[in-house]
Symmetry: D3
Subunit: 316 residues, 6 copies
């Protein structure tokens, strides 16, 4: 292609108004710079990533398979439940299979030569293991729904809870994402968690371990960190943070990843809105943490921690 | 159908990889267990529920009918406004009619034999009553838009307010949902409220009673409980909670539902970001509640309540 | 059209059930009242506004042009990157051109007679200026991605950061919106910011000036006001507010718009979850603001400000 | 609603430009006139009709259930075939059930009081009977596919035949539509036939009875009338008409509907492009009808009928 | 932009595999050549054309406005008919207005300087005139539907005719397109006609003049030329051609456009399948033209013209 | 999975109403029977086929790349033509690459072990070769458009021709499909041809060789066979068949595939509506074949062949 022709084209094309050719070139350089500079931390290069759209399909079909009459197609009749559930599982698991394969390809990048079909076999095994956990996930979410119904005087029925409560939605997605996290799929599980975060405003890291009958009311602004451990029958309100206090840095100043650094919350604890609980501490069984309280040390079982309510009221 | 055939099929089908048949059976059992165990609280069984997708249609058309040039179709010309409004109302009210019928069917489940057409007649009456409220809803939201424009120095025009402010969106949806709540439709009104909560991060229970010229700035994390009563010209900022302090339990330990348990906020009150106001208390006319303040007792009219600002500043 | 005919029609049409004709008339009157009463503040009348759907197209194509392999089409191959980038830019800039023209038409309403093509020329110049900023926007977001990867022990790779972190999404949109704000397009830039606010729960006014390597973790509930100035390498957590303390009112009681009223946050500052920083104050370089702290006065460089942790713990 | 208001509205609305109010009134009158004048022939009034969109769903899912790997979803894997087939049948048959109920409601209009659930029961029985015919339909279409492959030297594989040949598509739809016609559902079966007619240009009335191994090549313009009977291994080319010669009129001049009036085409007949075969005549076994021939009388078995080829060739 | 950069880009981009840059350049040259060479016949250059998608919207809404309960939305209730009709007209006429403006811009290209708003005014007048014809169009199509019901023994009801018969669909579209043709909009009317041709296989030039009670049975392959004139109560079958015999050429050998060159078909004529009627001849009132007959001369009123049926039948 | 459980499920599921389990089993058996019986002719088994939806994407983007201002996006501006063309080519060629790979996999099935990447390399070469032909395809279609404009007195402009004429659409698709056929891709090319056949009613086998300036008017029902050869400046009308007379059968009675068996039509021939030309004969340069004529022998150059017009006209 002669240069003069190409020049003609770029001058005639929108380049004329907006200099698109120049911007394309500069953006190209920016990508090259970035790829060079991050070679150490980002080794994946240009390979394909799990796709958000595919994971939405996985999530919708799994939700339908778990709760066909409430989260499945609106015109489903009860006598077709099992046929629908089988189909929804088939679609969800096959779609998940493709995404798992992509994540495995990323994480095993170095031995790219590794047997193509061995990786497929691995993906298949992981999805199979995940599939076996679905009945237990359903059982756990049933306890969550009941906990919400019992814990909120505004809840009119268990159906209202399942249809309306963002906290229940977030926990349902978390229980799915957590199983995938356990199977060694941090990226997919994190992407699923963010789909739920975006919709509900509740940010639960897929690494968190959460017992049964868990209820988050209202939920906007809740953050639950990666190494948090939560017992049974725990109740949280909006804007509660279960976070890390400080991060451990390695010799070179780089953060050490994956260390336990979040709270252990024992059974039957209640944490009210806006409370912040930080660090590898324990909130003992049955404790109650008041709203907006800041907690960075162990709380004994059964304790009630509240803010001191130091306020100034002045007539204006 | 011979068993051996079916076994063949299930072995050949995806069952082979993922044992879908086993999972289907276990999920079936889980649903049976759940349905048996919740018979007392959840009496609705397998009947059809109001559908989120249908309510989105209702909401979009009502928004367009109320504000045709701003929330209606982008190419609407002013001379077609009334024709569009009539059509949008017709679509919205007929779609709502179907959903109201479904909710009535749920709530009157016991006398299932009840006259089919009587229930339709009831649904029609409710939608008719709701429709009569629309001009008043428009008038109220006009006061809200003006309050936002006047209350925010960053607001460039009333149009910017209506197009961009999540607080105005949330109040618009609430004023619609509240009318339906008043008419005895708790499920539909709650589903509408959650559509708005998801989008704006503002969680207003449809039971809350809110006066005119109401403005929520930024909004993420605001929670307003079921029995809250708010006067005119009230202004809230993000992450404000108007919640319940504790729940009343019945003899059997079950929560008493529907009791008044949330604050009364009188005219001209301002509540700054992150403040938590709990319980059946009164915030008197013109009071100002500072950011992050925790309030569980009455505040007199005109008072300014602020946090004590107990802080430690240390050089690192 | 004879009145009797029209009456027939309206009686026969849905008016019969829901009195749509009456509601249409009342809503018409409400609009007339509103338009009359707001003539002073809202001068735009019935003219066309920038459209949310068009701005979503702009944003998606710009995101793809900036990060083709991560935010572009899922099946893009690296060898097609530049062709895709050129096309995405072409689509985005032309769509933006139309919206800019609409905003210019609104703001120059008074001299409606002004040369039609002069306004087009102006729009074209603004979009051209904006386009030149895109490589710099890419460079800045690269620093943000790296800051997130380095600042969060839960981040597994820079790709995970770009694909999953709402804070990075919010900053990417802000850097685009801010350039448009700088060019005198407050409405479009605000609408873009609200698209991101809705998705991420992070509310950054497009007027805010933010340095490189900026990281917001979790993010839900963060609010950053119009005249905020943020240095380099600053880190925020969820629910942090950088807001105004009080608004300046003019002689007539109307708020003065656009005045500097938000914090200056210098380089290397960290602000933990739920902290509220208000007013035209300075948080000095390297300062650390603890969670839930309320700050309304200057904080010296290097200081650590934490809540006093006044709590009452009682055994229940 | 006061007349003057309504008049205002209609003058202000688009009526001003296009007099929409007048047109609405005139169209209303046109409908009233029509409904009055056709009361005898059209008794259905305003009740709901089977919907084209619903029948497209039925057809797509039945096609997928019959040929899952060729006409089902593109990414179906063979090991999921049965699960997909069960789901596709479930969707198709339930959607069909709704449409059958609508057609039954139309045809039993006079005894509108008839038991609502009796009609549902009837619809359910009809769909059940139809469902039982599906394996036989699959077997017949398999013979058609093979006939096409064997009869066309341009056919490269049986897969190409199933994927590409409009004649096969038309026969597949016909075999489905014919079963529904046999069950007393003339409207649904005709609507299905027209979906195929539109796509393929082949117009087969659902009443026609067609034996196995039937092949239509190219197909555009083929017309096969309601009472046609076609044997096995018959082959047609494009633009062949199997039509009625004349219609029988009753005493009052009205056409007698449903009388046998189309050809009987025996086994192994071939009819070439453009031939027209009219009336209740018999084309004997193994006969060959040449292109563009006009046949209105019986053709004996084994005969070859060709046009006399009377042509004039002149040098220009 | 330096040439070497651009060369780099094009080599790195898909150019490497498919030499896209070369193809782009060659296609660019092809367009330049074409535009130069056709300057005389194609004067429109790069200006915008009426869009098929917009015309589909016009057609769908007009169909719905004319037959709301049959061709309008499937869930329309009779009591909402007029509101729906008004809205459908409003949408259709405004969409048409935009397309008419585009066609007028094309045809008045030479005086491009002509008053922008004068052309808008003209478009508005044309659409207003068209709108006034809609009640008459409805009346005519009513006669067509009745003619189909009466003329086809296979027609079970007038509703089946309106829902299923491609001939009725084609005539409905023609009656709309013809009015636009009469108003001087040849391009829009032709595009509408082709939308119908594609769906029904019936090709009626919008210039053809057709009387009431017109019925085309089956229809595939029917062609009706631009200057054809058809009386009342005419019936055609599939593959009938009403065409031109030869074209008149000007001095330079170019065809003279728009000359009368097609048949006049008087009242009550029937033309059977495959008949070809060519030239500016008259088929007299009540004549019957047999199938596959070739007619190029006047046919007297009441005559029956049939093919001589010269055939050879041989035993194979 | 215990049999009794599965039996329970199938009885409870829709099986109860429609016996879906039985139908699934019978359809499964039907597929097994078919796959066994056709093993010889259909060796492809369960592997993936080129997909219609993907080919529609290919076709739409190629059409846009060839005629950006007429067949590209409706709002394309001329100054963005080349950028759009590059992008459309990139999308089309990459999508085509995937489909070509699938077809190659089918046809090389026996040596399944063959190098995976060798097949990819082959697909890439074929698409590269095809891409080089696009400028020539554009040039040819330009001659076709001009031929249509010049040959039809009803054609108002070359733009009308490109936007409206189904004959031009069919030839455009054919010229694309033919190149792919030449490259050894019979299935993809046939599927493309059928996309066009469905839309236009014109059935051109991709194997046909067609010279420049080709025009088909009206077009419905035209059939052009696989081994047809057509010269330059040929004109056809609707329902013309260029077909095979008889098929050559092998020893075993099976048709011999791919033999030359269709007409050679030399330059400047005109064939009028409904004419049927069959067999490996030659229609000499400049010949004119009249409407409905049946031709099975060579026609000398310049000859005019017309039907003898044997008709009987009787007064009724």
């Amino acid at each position: 292609m002669a240069m003069s022709d190409l020049q003609n084209i770029s001058q005639r094309s929108a380049g004329e108004s907006f200099h698109i050719d120049t911007i394309v070139r500069k953006l190209h350089e920016a990508r090259r710079t970035w790829r060079t500079s991050t070679q150490r931390v980002q080794e994946a290069g240009a390979r394909e990533f799990p796709a958000r759209a595919a994971l939405e399909i996985v999530l919708n079909h799994l939700s339908g398979a778990l709760f066909p009459m409430r989260l499945g197609p609106p015109d489903l009749r009860q006598e077709s439940e099992d046929i629908y559930v089988a189909h929804a599982l088939d679609v969800a698991l096959n779609a998940l299979l493709g995404q798992v394969y992509l994540e495995l390809s990323l994480s095993t990048r170095k031995d790219r030569e590794a047997d193509f079909s061995r990786r497929h076999q691995h993906a298949r095994e992981l999805v199979g293991l995940f599939a076996q956990k679905l009945p237990e996930i359903r059982r756990l979410v049933d306890t969550d729904v009941l906990a919400a119904y019992r814990g909120d005087p505004a809840a009119g029925s268990v159906d209202e809870v399942l249809l309306c409560y963002p906290g229940v939605r977030a926990v349902l997605v978390h229980r799915i994402a957590h199983e995938l996290y356990q199977l060694g799929l941090p990226l997919i599980s994190r992407m699923l968690a963010e789909l739920s975060h975006e919709q509900t405003g509740i940010d639960i890291h897929p690494g968190a371990r959460i017992g049964e009958s868990f209820f988050i009311d209202h939920g906007t602004g809740v953050v639950i960190g990666e190494t948090t451990v939560i017992g049974s029958r725990v109740r949280l309100y909006q804007a509660v943070t279960l976070g890390a206090k400080r991060f451990k840095a390695g010799a070179g100043g780089e953060l050490v990843k994956g260390e336990p650094r979040h709270p252990r919350v024992e059974d039957d604890v209640v944490i009210y809105a806006g409370a912040t609980v930080l660090g590898l501490i324990t909130i003992g069984r049955g404790a109650v943490i008041g709203g907006n309280v800041w907690v960075t040390q162990d709380v004994p079982a059964g304790a009630h921690v509240t803010q001191a309510h130091v306020q100034q009221a002045t007539k204006s």
